[in-house]
């Protein structure tokens, strides 16, 4: 399934937006967290600055998000992981309210209550969780609802290769296959579960091989490439929309940054990231688009400028938004 000009340009534009969002956040996140503005003796203070708490960024993993979401409509559901920004952006979650949530502002998606691991956008049907493997059960639920309501909506659950060894993952795979749910399970294998490499945590090389054991197709994408993901995801999404049941896709992708920002990464070979970056999917896609005649140098510059402006606007909106009132903490436990 070839993507074609329109879809390819959309994927490129979204990848630029994601990368620029993540790189901007990597810089902003450090504000106020380094000496001498923190407790004496500390190298870094995770709880300081305008964006406190853990921060898991997805630079390098853009192809997984855009290659799948290019097939989705607003009525389809996406459930992401603790590293959720690329999925959210590809699903159409508004950047400004998403950034505002990370700044803990009243204008954020969850009024500042959720933070970056807990983004909820019911309009664009996106959610995520800080608990590993937790994306699959609610995706099954969205798929079941579509089936019961007689809609052709599908649901996508993204999860990491580290999550593949969680009970919730296995239970969901069986349930979805048993009930022929319109759901697509997408495993993004970035090789690292915090400090533990896949080879030390998973008994087989491809999580997708487990699909056979649950009675669903297992699709392997060996390159961190948006078009390869697009081609693999197309048939799985169509199969789900036709009511023929779930699929499991696994994509080999790359984590350019630490597990969280501030991660000393003592476990990772020094030159690993530099080597991964030589195969950066974004410039590779730009070359492809130019070769196809889909994009000129001028158009490329325009797209880059557009992504930068969108991200800059989002961060400005977030910074300028008001804090919630302290006692707002007591609201929204129930509706």
């Amino acid at each position: 399934m070839q993507a074609g000009k329109e879809a390819e340009l959309w994927m490129y534009e979204k990848m630029l937006e994601i990368r620029h969002f993540e790189e901007t956040m990597a810089t902003v996140y450090l504000e106020g967290k380094l000496p001498p503005h923190i407790q004496k003796g500390l190298a870094f203070d995770i709880g300081s600055g305008p964006v406190p708490g853990e921060m898991h960024l997805a630079a390098g993993q853009e192809p997984v998000a855009v290659g799948v979401c290019a097939h989705l409509k607003q009525t389809d559901t996406v459930v992401g992981t603790h590293r959720p920004h690329h999925f959210a952006i590809a699903k159409g979650v508004p950047l400004g309210r998403m950034a505002a949530e990370m700044f803990g502002k009243a204008t954020g998606l969850g009024k500042g209550k959720g933070g970056h691991m807990h983004l909820f956008d019911p309009v664009n049907r996106f959610s995520c969780s800080g608990i590993i493997g937790a994306s699959l059960p609610p995706a099954c639920g969205a798929a079941l609802a579509a089936k019961k309501l007689g809609k052709d909506w599908v649901a996508v659950a993204f999860f990491g290769e580290g999550a593949a060894n969680q009970g919730a993952v296995h239970e969901s795979l069986n349930l979805a296959a048993l009930w022929k749910l319109p759901v697509i399970f997408v495993c993004e294998d970035n090789k690292w579960a915090i400090s533990v490499p896949k080879s030390s945590a998973t008994s087989i090389e491809w999580v997708a091989d487990r699909a056979a054991g649950y009675g669903m197709p297992g699709i392997k994408v060996a390159t961190n490439d948006a078009m390869a993901v697009y081609e693999a995801a197309g048939p799985a999404v169509q199969r789900a929309r036709r009511g023929e049941g779930p699929s499991l896709i696994e994509v080999k992708t790359d984590r350019y940054l630490g597990h969280f920002q501030g991660d000393p990464e003592v476990y990772r070979p020094k030159d690993e990231v530099a080597n991964l970056r030589k195969n950066d999917p974004i410039p590779r896609m730009a070359s492809h688009l130019k070769l196809q005649g889909y994009m000129s140098d001028t158009e490329e510059a325009k797209l880059v400028a557009l992504a930068r402006r969108r991200v800059a606007d989002a961060f400005e909106f977030a910074r300028n938004s008001p804090d919630p009132e302290p006692q707002d903490a007591l609201q929204d436990v129930f509706v």
Binding site: G47, G104, N165, S195, P326, V333
Partner: protein, 346 residues
């Protein structure tokens, strides 16, 4: 008397584990990122290099499997230490903890020993939101079959850890992230203190008088002990003398230490970073209520804890729900001006 030096709580815990591993071949550790990383919160720092991957075992992200494995290995003669990275993750493996680890000894009529130490990080204060900031010790203390240890400083943490490893029962060892002394998270410096080099134990069920006082008793534990000590210091200027009781363990609970102090001061503040409802603060208040025949209160019991909402992300919201030094100071002042109704005439 062995030499002492100042350690962080993380260093003290790792030292205690290392010493027990040195002296007992059946002790081993399993959990996520405990090897090369040394534990996300440093509780196993340096142990991989000393003991190798057969005894410091990085696991898949499979808490049900590896906590259940710890239970099974303990029944078969080992003394495992399993690390649940954040207590909030108990949701994915609670069955193995409370239906098996906590109950098997009882259901076997005491014929099975399960010397498992389950370590886990608790607490907020650094804006990690609702799934990574809870304390939840009362949840575990509520269910019979687990001893629950919640240290407030390095000295206690090492002694309690060695005690936990040598105990023949399941022990949940809960360390607050904000007193571990990590290089990447602000912490209360009172939690780093002098720790003997040699191995030693601190018996469970013995609370510590962290500060003596005569006007108000603050009963608390974990990081809140450090906040209470700062509050007590602040109140000196107002000539209010605060006694701080550090419970150290919830199961077993040193009820007598609470009563002894409240009999002296007549005023009780229970300060807690766990949820207010159905929790530790209510338990401590009930102990006093049950003993009003021997305790003379000068003011109604006061409780400060997280109101019954999940921990919010945003800084002003989180600071509002988690009791701060200022909240303790304010609560003590209120206790000093409050009074109890006189008993009704018979």
């Amino acid at each position: 008397m062995s030499n002492t030096r100042k350690l962080t709580m993380a260093q003290a815990i790792a030292e205690g584990i290392g010493q027990e591993m040195q002296s007992d071949d059946t002790v081993f550790v399993l959990g996520e990122d405990i090897g090369r990383y040394g534990g996300i919160f440093g509780a196993t720092g340096g142990l991989l290099d000393r003991f190798g991957p057969d005894r410091i075992m990085d696991t898949p992200i499979s808490e049900t499997a590896f906590i259940g494995t710890a239970t099974g290995a303990a029944a078969a003669g080992m003394r495992p230490i399993a690390e649940l990275m954040f207590v909030d993750f108990f949701g994915v493996c609670m069955d193995q903890i409370y239906n098996h680890l906590a109950k098997n000894t009882y259901m076997a009529g005491g014929h099975i020993k399960l010397p498992v130490v389950l370590t886990t990080a608790i607490g907020g204060g650094y804006n990690d939101a609702a799934q990574h900031s809870q304390c939840l010790y009362a949840t575990f203390a509520h269910m019979p079959g687990l001893k629950v240890v919640v240290p407030s400083n390095a000295y206690d943490a090492k002694g309690l850890m060695i005690q936990a490893i040598r105990d023949d029962n399941p022990v949940l060892f809960m360390y607050h992230k904000g007193i571990m002394g990590l290089p990447w998270m602000a912490y209360f410096e009172g939690s780093s203190n002098e720790v003997p080099e040699a191995a030693y134990t601190i018996p469970f069920g013995q609370a510590r008088v962290a500060r003596e006082g005569s006007d108000v008793t603050i009963v608390t534990l974990s990081q809140m002990v450090q906040k209470a000590l700062l509050a007590a210091e602040e109140l000196v200027a107002e000539r209010i003398s605060v006694e701080v009781i550090d419970l150290r363990t919830l199961v077993p609970l040193d009820r007598e230490a609470v009563l002894r102090s409240v009999r002296k001061t007549g005023r009780l503040l229970v300060a807690d970073e766990d949820y207010l409802g159905f929790g530790l603060t209510g338990e401590i208040a009930a102990i006093v209520a049950e003993n009003l025949d021997t305790v003379q209160l000068k003011a109604p019991v006061k409780r400060v804890a997280v109101p019954n909402v999940p921990i919010p992300y945003s800084r002003p919201l989180e600071r509002f729900v988690i009791p701060q030094v200022g909240s303790l100071v304010a609560a003590v002042r209120e206790l000093m001006t409050a009074s109890v109704r006189q008993p009704l005439e018979a």
